[in-house]
């Protein structure tokens, strides 16, 4: 998508209207360099995928490295499906998507999903209500995918936030059934219990992020405590939407490349990196609104627009983040969340 793009267009390559304060100069400067990166990555991926007649991508350290450097948009859907395990689920359950889609008769579920169709990317050309051309018909697909997911995962039903993830996946992947399986894999395999009725997983991971920041930047933690900014205020959408509708679209997709390969740990890396990059600004704040503003602005500045550099940064700046340490923190934090609830 990006290689045929008009850098000055008011709509980005994925159909999103750019905000009024979008920094075109900064973006153009970045893209003029990024194009050569994309071309190089594409030829590397072509070589790898070209060797396999069946299109399978087997997980390996090489593929992991390649994924971190970015999957070219033409191969994104295929590689996401393969490395996440979604393709395996799809092939093991032929016809399940169709069956789930038509099986749902839950009136409440249908009503709440319909209400949110209007409120999913209203500024995106593919989701606007007034357009009738087929090009814009993503709303029906969004409804289908969310209904089928709710039917299959009855413990989750429909949780707000899933609409944004499914919406962006539909724009990129384009195939309803594949989007359904990618979502199902996220919910059941890659993310810990984010969309259940009490969102225990999200509450836990917000606390974990807090601990990880505290280990690295205790001064930031002291500042947040002093002005009364809790992680639940600034990071709820980060976790629930996997930074979709938070970070710039291209950056989100580069991040999702990594999530589909590596899982939820990457979400912490992004959070820590955003805080680290804005540490001086945060420490300069004197009030609650100032801190909240810094967090808001941090997701839309030069640093995050340059997705290539940003993704490199998330794997270097936070330092080591071992699986066992995360598991340990998750256990502690989950206990804390549960205790608080009964308090």
């Amino acid at each position: 998508m990006a290689d045929i793009e008009d850098f000055r267009s008011s709509v980005d390559p994925y159909g999103f209207k750019r905000t009024e304060n979008f920094d075109y100069d900064c973006y153009e400067q970045f893209m003029s360099k990024y194009l050569s990166v994309l071309a190089r990555r594409r030829s590397k991926w072509e070589r790898i995928l070209g060797m396999k007649a069946n299109g399978h991508v087997v997980r390996s350290n090489k593929i992991k490295r390649y994924v971190r450097k970015g999957i070219p948009s033409v191969f994104r859907a295929q590689v996401w499906m393969e490395v996440s395990g979604a393709e395996y689920h799809r092939r093991s359950n032929p016809g399940l998507y169709e069956a789930m889609r038509i099986a749902c008769h839950d009136k409440d579920l249908i009503e709440v999903i319909v209400t949110d169709l209007d409120r999913t990317f209203p500024d995106n050309i593919y989701f606007q209500a007034e357009t009738s051309s087929e090009k814009y018909a993503k709303r029906q697909s969004l409804f289908n995918v969310l209904i089928a997911l709710g039917q299959k995962n009855q413990k989750v039903g429909y949780c707000q936030g899933l609409n944004f993830i499914a919406g962006l996946l539909l724009i990129v992947v384009k195939d309803e059934e594949k989007v359904f399986w990618l979502m199902d894999t996220l919910i059941n395999d890659l993310l810990p219990d984010y969309y259940s009725r009490d969102m225990l997983g999200v509450q836990t991971d917000q606390e974990v992020l807090g601990e990880l920041v505290k280990e690295r930047m205790p001064d930031v933690t002291r500042m947040l405590d002093a002005v009364g900014v809790a992680w639940a205020l600034v990071s709820t959408k980060w976790f629930i939407c996997l930074y979709c509708d938070v970070l710039p679209t291209e950056t989100v997709l580069r991040l999702w490349d990594c999530i589909f390969y590596e899982g939820s740990k990457v979400l912490f890396r992004v959070g820590i990196t955003l805080v680290k990059h804005n540490r001086a600004k945060i420490l300069n704040c004197r009030s609650f609104p100032e801190v909240v503003n810094i967090f808001k602005e941090s997701t839309n500045d030069k640093f995050v627009i340059n997705c290539h550099q940003f993704i490199q940064a998330i794997f270097s700046e936070p330092g080591s983040l071992s699986r066992s340490h995360i598991d340990e923190l998750r256990e502690q934090c989950q206990q804390r969340v549960v205790d608080n609830k009964h308090h």
Binding site: T115, D118, Q160, Y195, Q203, A226, T236, R286, P289, K296
Partner: protein
């Protein structure tokens, strides 16, 4: 801009009742028929005048879906006022008020002023909840009540400002301990004797810039 007091508000109620639209109408004086749904919490702010005193309202607009309750509960702490919103065209949203009220009372200061709002009063033809029912519920539970329209702006100013008046009255009556920030009230920087550094007014301003 300096202010005498800062009040924290929280807007609660079922998903889709118009919480974000009420906030936008109050802070920016406009109505946005289509907008992204709120995940977690968004912030707004505006300065108002009561009894000749400048008061800054810092408003927390919350997600309404039930799964978010466990997260939004932590937002009540330190709120001086709450706008509890239902949609007059959807009875469900009215039926859920008791649960919302229980949640609010359990997680906030007992002095928090609660304004019950029946929103979408412009959709008279689709009305599903009578005004008298809203009034009765409010009377029974000791709330202030108003019907509003975020679309036409009817009663929106009044809803936010009357809540502030009630809080202000409670301060005058000595019900609120204004030195205890858990009550959701802060004394403005020029009045503060204790900790001037922590309550800067920068970033305030009369109209919202998307944040508080």
């Amino acid at each position: 801009m300096s202010y005498a007091y800062l009040f924290k508000y929280i807007i609660i109620g079922d998903t889709g009742v118009g919480k974000s639209c009420l906030l936008l109408q109050f802070t920016d004086k406009r109505f946005q028929p289509v907008h992204d749904l709120t995940i977690g919490v968004e912030f707004g702010a505006r300065m108002i005048t009561i009894d000749g005193k400048q008061i800054k309202l810092q408003i927390w607009d919350t997600a309404g879906q039930e799964s978010f309750r466990s997260i939004t509960r932590s937002y009540y702490r330190g709120a001086a006022g709450a706008l509890l919103v239902y949609d007059i065209t959807r009875r469900d949203t009215f039926n859920h008020l008791t649960t919302w009220l229980e949640d609010a009372r359990q997680h906030s200061s007992s002095n928090m002023v609660i304004m019950l709002i029946g929103n979408k009063s412009d959709l008279e033809a689709r009305r599903d909840v009578k005004k008298e029912e809203g009034e009765a519920f409010a009377r029974e539970h000791g709330l202030i009540f108003m019907e509003t329209s975020a679309k036409t702006a009817a009663n929106v100013e009044e809803a936010f400002i009357n809540t502030a008046k009630e809080i202000y009255q409670k301060i005058q009556d000595g019900v609120f301990d204004i030195n205890n920030e858990a009550n959701g009230i802060k004394i403005g920087p020029q009045h503060s004797l204790t900790n001037p550094g922590m309550s800067s007014s920068s970033g305030g301003g009369n109209q919202s810039s998307g944040c508080c």
